[in-house]
C-alpha cells in the first residue's frame, strides 16, 4: 500500500518537474513597439519594411536569445504615428501604456523628441535615428533622455554616402545636394562643416514640400556647375528630378538619393528606361559588401528573408533597406540584454549598450561612449552605394563610417 503512495508521489513529482521543464522550455515574448506610418503620403516607407521585419523576426525567434538560462522572443507591435510628432507621441503612449511594450524602435526623425519625451518618462528604451536633434547644437540632452539610443546616425550616414560617391567618381566637378525644406535644420550645418573639412565641393538647394516640377532647381544646379545631384531621401522627388533633368537634355548630370532602392522597375517606369540608368542609391544588401565584414549567419538569414518575402509577394523582392533598420535594432537589444543578464532593468541594459560592440546584420557596430552629438551612443555604418543598370541594381562603392572616438 505504502509503496503505491510513494510511487504515486514520485510519479506526481516527476510529472510536475516535467511540466515545469516544459514550462521552462517555453520562450518568453518581449514586445517591441514600432511607431510607424501606416497612413498618408509617407506610408509606403512604413509599408515596405513591415513584411521583411516580420519575416526576419520569425527566423530570429526560431532560436531567440537567452538571458539567465531563459529563452526570449521578440514580438513587433505597430501603431500608426501619422508621421507627425503628435501622432508619434500618441502612438508611443498607446504602445507603452496600452500594449505594455518595454522597448520602442522606429526611425521617423521628426517624431523623436515627442516620442522620446514619452518613452523616457516611462523608462522605456527607445532606439531611433539621430535625425536633426542629436547633432552638435541640437536639443538632445543625455541627462534628460537617458533611455534614448541612436541606432542610426542620419547625418553621418549622409556624409559617408557622399564620401562613397566621391570615391566612386573621383573627378567630379561639384556635388549638388537637394533636400525638402521640411528637412531643414541644424543637422545640415553639421553636414556642411564636415564636407568643408573633407574638402568636398558641393552646392545645396531646397525645394518646398509637394514640389513636382524641379526644372527651376535643375537649372540652378546646372548654373552652379554641379554634375552629381544627391537628393536627401525623397524617392519620388528624386525620380522626377532624374526624369526632368533628362527631358531638359542634361544627360551627363548624375542623380542619386540617400535612400535604398525600393524597386528598380518603379524607377524605370517613372523616369523612363534611359533616364533611370546610372541612378544612384543606398545599398544595404549585406551579402555584397566588400569593406564591411558581416556575420555569415546574418547574411544567410537576410537572404532567406528576401526569399520568403518574394514568395509572399509573388514577385522578386529587391528592397534591401530594411536590413539597416529593424534587425540591427533588435540585435542590439538582444545582445545588450544577454550582456546585461536582465530583460527588465533599463539602467543595466543601457549600461550594457553604452560602449558595447554589437554584431548586427550590417557589420560590427561599436556604440562608443564618445561625446559626439552629446549622445552616449554612436556607431559605424557601412555606406554602400549601388547604381541602376538595366533593371538591376549593381554595387557601386562603399565607405564604412569610422566608429567615432
Amino acid at each position: 500500500m505504502k509503496k503505491w503512495y510513494s510511487r504515486a508521489t514520485i510519479l506526481a513529482i516527476v510529472t510536475l518537474l516535467g511540466m515545469s521543464g516544459i514550462a521552462l522550455g517555453q520562450p518568453t515574448v518581449i514586445k517591441v513597439g514600432l511607431p510607424t506610418v501606416l497612413s498618408g503620403p509617407a506610408a509606403p516607407w512604413g509599408q515596405i519594411g513591415m513584411d521583411p521585419y516580420l519575416a526576419w523576426i520569425e527566423l530570429f525567434n526560431k532560436e531567440g536569445f537567452k538571458v539567465g538560462g531563459k529563452t526570449y522572443n521578440f514580438k513587433l507591435v505597430t501603431v500608426d504615428d501619422k508621421n507627425t510628432p503628435e501622432g508619434g507621441a500618441a502612438a508611443a503612449k498607446q504602445l507603452i501604456f496600452g500594449d505594455g511594450c518595454k522597448f520602442l524602435a522606429g526611425h521617423w526623425s521628426w517624431n523623436f523628441p515627442a516620442v522620446a519625451a514619452v518613452s523616457n518618462q516611462a523608462k522605456v528604451i527607445f532606439l531611433t535615428r539621430t535625425g536633426n536633434e542629436a547633432v552638435p547644437g541640437g536639443v538632445y540632452d543625455p541627462k534628460k533622455q537617458p533611455y534614448t539610443v541612436f541606432a542610426n546616425p542620419s547625418h553621418d550616414q549622409f556624409i559617408s554616402d557622399l564620401f562613397a560617391l566621391v570615391e566612386a567618381f573621383p573627378n567630379y566637378k561639384k556635388i549638388g545636394i537637394l533636400d525638402c525644406t521640411i528637412g531643414k535644420g541644424i543637422g545640415w550645418d553639421y553636414v556642411e562643416a564636415e564636407l568643408k573639412k573633407a574638402g568636398v565641393r558641393y552646392h545645396m538647394e531646397w525645394f518646398p514640400f509637394g514640389t513636382q516640377d524641379f526644372t527651376p532647381y535643375i537649372t540652378r544646379f546646372k548654373e552652379a556647375g554641379s554634375d552629381i545631384v544627391y537628393v536627401a531621401g525623397w524617392v519620388g522627388e528624386s525620380m522626377m528630378f532624374a526624369k526632368q533633368r533628362w527631358a531638359m537634355g542634361y544627360k551627363e548630370m548624375r542623380v542619386g538619393h540617400s535612400g535604398p532602392f525600393v524597386d528598380v522597375n518603379m524607377y524605370n517606369a517613372v523616369c523612363g528606361l534611359d533616364a533611370a540608368q546610372g541612378f544612384i542609391g543606398q545599398y544595404w544588401a549585406n551579402w555584397d559588401f566588400n569593406k564591411t565584414k558581416v556575420n555569415p549567419k546574418y547574411i544567410a538569414m537576410c537572404q532567406e528573408v528576401m526569399k520568403i518575402v518574394s514568395q509572399k509577394h509573388g514577385k522578386p523582392f529587391a528592397y534591401s533597406g530594411w536590413i539597416g533598420w529593424g534587425p540591427s535594432h533588435l540585435l542590439i537589444l538582444a545582445q545588450a540584454m544577454e550582456k546585461a543578464g536582465t530583460v527588465d532593468d533599463p539602467e543595466v541594459i543601457m549600461k550594457a549598450i553604452r560602449g558595447g560592440t554589437f554584431d548586427t546584420t550590417t557589420g560590427k557596430w561599436t556604440m562608443s561612449g564618445a561625446k559626439t552629438y552629446g549622445s552616449p551612443v554612436v556607431f559605424g555604418t557601412p555606406s554602400a552605394l549601388s547604381m541602376i543598370k538595366g533593371d538591376k541594381e549593381v554595387y557601386l562603392s562603399e565607405h564604412p563610417m569610422k566608429p567615432l572616438p
Binding site: A43, E205, W206, G236, A247, G249, A269, V270, L273
Partner: protein
C-alpha cells in the same frame, strides 16, 4: 532673365493649373460651391489612364478620353448622391458641402491607397524621347501636354459658346433662373456641370501622368494651386480662372528659379494681397 527652359516649364505648369482651375470655377459658378475634392478627381483620372495604358494597352490619347468619361461619371454620382443631399437651402448651405467634399478627400485617398497601393507609379513609356533644339531641349511629353490642353480648352470654348447646354451654363452662371429660359432645369444643369468639371480635373491628371509620378496623394498640390488660381482670377469668372492659372504657372517656376524655395511664401502673400486690394479677384464681378 530666366533661360528658355524655365519659360517652357512655366507654360507646362500653366496648362495644368488652367485646366484644373477651369473645371473648378465652372462648378463654382453654377453650384455656388467649391469642390474641395477636385484634386482627388485629378488623382483618380491619372490612375485610370495609368491602368488603361499599362494594363489594357489602350493608346494614350484614347485613355485620356476614357478617364474623362469615367471620372466625369463619378463626379455626377458624387453630385447626385452626396452634394445635392448634403447642401442646405440656407446661408450656411455651402458649409456642409465644403465639409462633405473635404471628407471625400480622405475617402478617395484612402480608397486609392487600398485599391492601387501607395507605391509611386509612372507612365514614362508614353511618348518617350527628347526633341533637341540646340541651346535647350523639350521632351515630347511636354509638347503633348501643351497640345492636349489647347484641344481641351478649344473644345470647352465651343461647348460653352455654340451648344444649348453651354449657353444655358453661361446664362445660369450669370443668373440662376435664366437657365430655365433655355429649357434646362438647374438640377440637370448642375449634374452636367459637375460632370464636366470633374472630367476636366481627370484630363488634367491624365495629361500630367507621364510627366510626374502617379500615387494616391498627388491631388493635394494641384488642388490648392487651382484654388489660388481661381481666387486670383475671381471666383465665378471663367476667364479669371484661365488667367489666374497662367499667372500662377509662370510665377511658380520663375520665382522658384530666382528665389528657390521662397516661391511658396511669395505665392500665398500674393494671393492675400490681391484679395485685400481687390476682394473680387482680377476678373470677378464686384461684390455689391
Amino acid at each position: 532673365m530666366p533661360p528658355v527652359g524655365i519659360w517652357i516649364d512655366g507654360l507646362i505648369q500653366s496648362c495644368i493649373y488652367m485646366t484644373m482651375a477651369f473645371g473648378m470655377v465652372l462648378v463654382f459658378s453654377i453650384l455656388g460651391i467649391l469642390n474641395w475634392t477636385h484634386g482627388q478627381f485629378y488623382m483618380l483620372g491619372a490612375f485610370v489612364v495609368y491602368y488603361a495604358v499599362t494594363a489594357a494597352g489602350i493608346p494614350f490619347p484614347i485613355s485620356i478620353l476614357i478617364s474623362a468619361v469615367v471620372i466625369g461619371g463619378l463626379g455626377i454620382l458624387v453630385e447626385k448622391f452626396i452634394i445635392e443631399r448634403v447642401s442646405v437651402p440656407s446661408a450656411q448651405g455651402a458649409l456642409y458641402v465644403t465639409v462633405a467634399t473635404i471628407a471625400l478627400i480622405f475617402f478617395f485617398e484612402g480608397t486609392a491607397s487600398m485599391l492601387f497601393g501607395m507605391q509611386d507609379k509612372g507612365l514614362a513609356m508614353v511618348l518617350p524621347g527628347v526633341l533637341n533644339l540646340g541651346s535647350f531641349s523639350v521632351s515630347y511629353q511636354k509638347i503633348a501636354v501643351v497640345i492636349f490642353t489647347l484641344v481641351i480648352m478649344i473644345t470647352m470654348y465651343i461647348v460653352l459658346n455654340h451648344t444649348k447646354v453651354g449657353l444655358a451654363i453661361r446664362a445660369a452662371a450669370q443668373e440662376p433662373v435664366a437657365a430655365s429660359l433655355y429649357g434646362v432645369s438647374v438640377e440637370r444643369l448642375s449634374l452636367i456641370v459637375m460632370g464636366i468639371g470633374c472630367a476636366l480635373a481627370a484630363m488634367a491628371g491624365s495629361i500630367m501622368a507621364p510627366l510626374y509620378v502617379v500615387n494616391p496623394f498627388i491631388g493635394g498640390i494641384p488642388m490648392i494651386m487651382s484654388l489660388l488660381a481661381i481666387v486670383i482670377g475671381g471666383l465665378g469668372s471663367l476667364t479669371g480662372a484661365i488667367v489666374g492659372g497662367i499667372i500662377l504657372g509662370f510665377l511658380n517656376s520663375v520665382v522658384a528659379y530666382h528665389l528657390s524655395y521662397f516661391s511658396e511664401v511669395v505665392l500665398f502673400l500674393l494671393v492675400i494681397i490681391i484679395l485685400l486690394v481687390r476682394p473680387q479677384g482680377l476678373f470677378g464681378a464686384s461684390l455689391k
